[in-house]
Symmetry: C2
């Protein structure tokens, strides 16, 4: 129980006990030694055609939140899998947007699942230098030639680069070294509400698989690559106060602001209810909220120590990335990193009530809503977390506050000792990188369907650099400046070739 | 000091001591006896032309918030005053929209100021049955023929009806019984930020005037007329929390929601800061906030008793108007009415931070804003009120919360014993009404520029019924159903004729 090691006196940030002193170092893993010069050469030759494939993907809109181009993109992906030689392909109907399934029978003993997402974020109304769906190539003076488009890095660029690599393997070597199941969803940007339906449909096939991979650009602007072995879970809630029979307030529509003298205010009620969930300094104040959290295990502590050593001296660079003056409530670097990896959160994503425009309008709104998310670490569960929030609100007299659960799934994690993980690290080592390896990231993804539901190891990674995933001018570097450590499209694809063979080797080893 | 009589133990609503037992009754004021049958007849004859004048006014858009048609409406009003025989007319430039000035020299000893507003609210995007600027006449099965248009009742309808009445007086009797100054603004719906500039420009002339009048429809759907003698002041603030050097948080833009583990949240900070301003039940908790409030004086208590007597048995009807199940924190009818008249408020008009749309988006917003208004009663002042809020936030450690004052002015009041008030009551009495007379309303208007800056008595009123001032399908009744107590346009204008003569008589009496 992490609670035992969290000192929560007043507004003091929680302390997470790290008792191990050893640090994991990716340099301890030998470099992968496979030689695929013939496939490398093919990719070099195919450069223009492969870039055209990335452009073709980003030119097809697929905005899940607005159901824009979703069906066309799903069919485009399915068709591409078919062309690549996937024997069985299918659109997978769900209660939401369809999934896409593809099975490549390489006649191999083992099977690798490739998780994909084919949807993208909505287009920001301002700030784009190019049309977000033009597939434009732009010269960035600091980075080189980049593909600037919605989905360029999140996630069409790396995913199609992986398929380009697979295509090269098939063209040159006849078939991949492992059977492949591609299982894609079109609702990642919506919190993957229906991905479990897609997984359930193919559960029998998936249970025969040996591991899961997700292609992604992991290099930063300086070309440093990194790895992570897990994700946090998430609980996403709307808390709503509205006029009601018990606590009063207008029930049908806003009323004149002067009526605050004699009518209850749902907005004040929401503010006061929310205020019971944190300390004045914004630390979680829900009783028992951290009780389920297990303390970092030895492996996690070793990974943490390795990360902290890599990050040493980077404080300003890290804070600058968020334009922040300090870490939360004065945490030091080490505590901030520990919180990001091992602590849960309670975050306000949005607040809305009444008049939100410019200037003066005097109303007493009949409803007020907060959007709140909580990142879940082992062994928190979404249902227990929401129950504790409900209990606190009830205990403080706010049983009239409605809680709506919009999304919720548990965390996911793979061991650094898993053969799949070591294979991935070895591939980075072959390409000259010794990545920091995080036990997990602060963000969330529905990987639990693989690690927890199916019990499979899962790894995400790749070379390549992109940014702007949920912002204007999203890009992925195609041709970096000379001297840059960033991999261009060709090297990114070559890395995926190595990784595919390296992972295939790993799948032959006993699972850990 | 009202503080002495406010019991604020926990969430108990404040008690306002009413020690007087006598009640004011408008029936104690004799009916006005003037006879203007010749002017009445003229108005009857002019019916169609006068209605066309109202339509002409509402067909000219004048949305102050969007600067739509403002200059044209200002010029239309100025031109109309000129045509009516106002000797001096002018557009009055301000830092915002222009004011309009007109002086009618009747060669009289006394002068009445007529306050007007020529601006209207923006058009609601949905819900209008007719074009808001068509000046449509609509048959309402429960009310009769109504003019349905933006500004029909707020405030073009009653104002032009008053000018129609004035025109009739001039046509039939040669001149009005009193000199008139019309002083209009085009920013009432914005909180009258520049009206003091308009007043300052004509201060010399205004100081020679004897009283102020504002034409308005005061009849409800049942035809009951009412009067009020004052308005509350207002303080309108924006409270903003944002990332900053002292308390941390992202300073430039939203960041990923998972960063709540290590970055401070301006949204939680705003929530916690706001929570220090009220009790958990939403009662004001700012120390000293009510200290400046003077207890209701004898006149106010007598008026209050009269009002309560008139409202007896109306609880459900009153609550139904707001779709509310009870009064604030269980106040009884009497305490609710007392609070509306004599207590200050602290109301959340709006809350906004981060993502406010449908569904899931996980961000940690870099800023959060609350729009808050406070209604001010004697002897509160906007500056003292904002200083107390600032002091409370500072005392609780929230000195990083920025307070922006968007609007602020003091309350205004005229005595029920003022000759102007008695003249207005007498006019209602002549028309068969015995109105409840409120010492003030819960709402705010910048009447202080007259009552406080210039020391003039001010009265607002008229017959007529309209509704939807800040809502779709705003209307004013033109021709009521048979048997209705609501005054149609002609009777509304005839009332203004009586009122003009009655007020003129009153201005000859010594001021109280």
């Amino acid at each position: 129980m992490l609670a035992a090691v969290l000192a929560q006196a007043g507004a003091a940030p929680p302390k997470i006990a790290i008792t191990e002193t050893a640090a994991f170092d990716a340099a301890s893993v030998p470099a992968f030694t496979g030689d695929y010069a013939d496939v490398y050469a093919h990719l070099q030759k195919q450069r223009a055609a492969d870039l055209a494939q990335l452009q073709r993907w980003v030119r097809q809109p697929s905005i899940s939140a607005q159901d824009k181009g979703i069906d066309a993109m799903a069919e485009l992906l399915r068709g591409d899998l078919q062309k690549l030689g996937f024997r069985d392909t299918a659109l997978v109907p769900t209660s939401g947007h369809p999934g896409v399934y593809g099975y490549y029978d390489a006649g191999a003993e083992h099977t690798l699942v490739v998780y994909m997402m084919y949807d993208v974020q909505p287009i920001e109304p301002t700030g784009w230098k190019v049309d977000a769906f033009d597939g434009a190539l732009v010269d960035d003076p600091k980075l080189g030639k980049v593909l600037m488009a919605r989905g360029a890095t999140n996630q069409k660029g790396p995913q199609r680069a992986f398929l380009n690599a697979l295509d090269a393997v098939i063209q040159v070597r006849g078939k991949p070294p492992v059977n492949l199941i591609v299982l894609a969803e079109g609702e990642e940007e919506l919190g993957s509400p229906h991905y479990p339906e897609v997984v359930a449909k193919y559960e029998a096939q998936l249970r025969k698989a040996d591991g899961v991979f997700f292609p992604m650009n992991t290099q930063d602007r300086d070309g440093e690559a990194s790895m992570f072995l897990g994700v946090k879970g998430i609980l996403y809630l709307e808390l709503e106060a509205k006029g009601n029979a018990k606590t009063g307030g207008p029930q049908k529509s806003e009323v004149h602001g002067s009526l605050a003298a004699k009518l209850d205010s749902p907005s004040w009620r929401l503010v006061q209810a929310l205020a019971t969930l944190t300390t004045p300094d914004g630390e979680i104040a829900v009783p028992g909220y951290r009780d389920a959290i297990r303390a970092p295990n030895v492996e996690e502590q070793r990974l943490f120590n390795g990360l902290v050593a890599k990050r040493a001296g980077d404080t300003q660079k890290q804070l600058d990335a968020f334009a922040a003056a300090r870490w939360k409530n004065g945490r030091n670097d080490r505590d901030a990193s520990a919180a990001e990896l091992f602590d849960t959160t309670l975050n306000i994503d949005g607040l809305v009530a009444g008049y939100t425009g410019e200037g003066v309008k005097t109303i007493l709104p009949h409803r007020a809503v907060a959007k709140v998310d909580s990142r879940l670490v082992p062994d928190q569960t979404p249902d227990e977390a929401v129950a504790l929030i409900r209990k606190q609100l009830d205990a403080k007299g706010f049983d009239d506050i409605e809680i709506r659960k919009l999304s919720g799934y548990p965390p996911a994690q793979t061991s650094v000792e898993a053969p799949l993980t070591r294979a991935a690290i070895g591939t980075y080592r072959k390409h000259g990188f010794t990545p920091p390896v995080a036990p997990r990231i602060g963000g969330s993804a529905p990987y639990y369907v693989f690690t927890q539901t199916l019990g499979l190891p899962m790894i995400a990674g790749g070379l390549g650099h992109g940014s702007g995933a949920h912002a204007p001018n999203e890009y992925m570097v195609i041709e970096p400046l000379k001297g840059s450590k960033i991999a261009g499209l060709v090297q990114t694809e070559q890395f995926y070739v190595d990784l595919l063979y390296s992972l295939a080797d790993a799948l032959k080893q006993p699972k850990q």
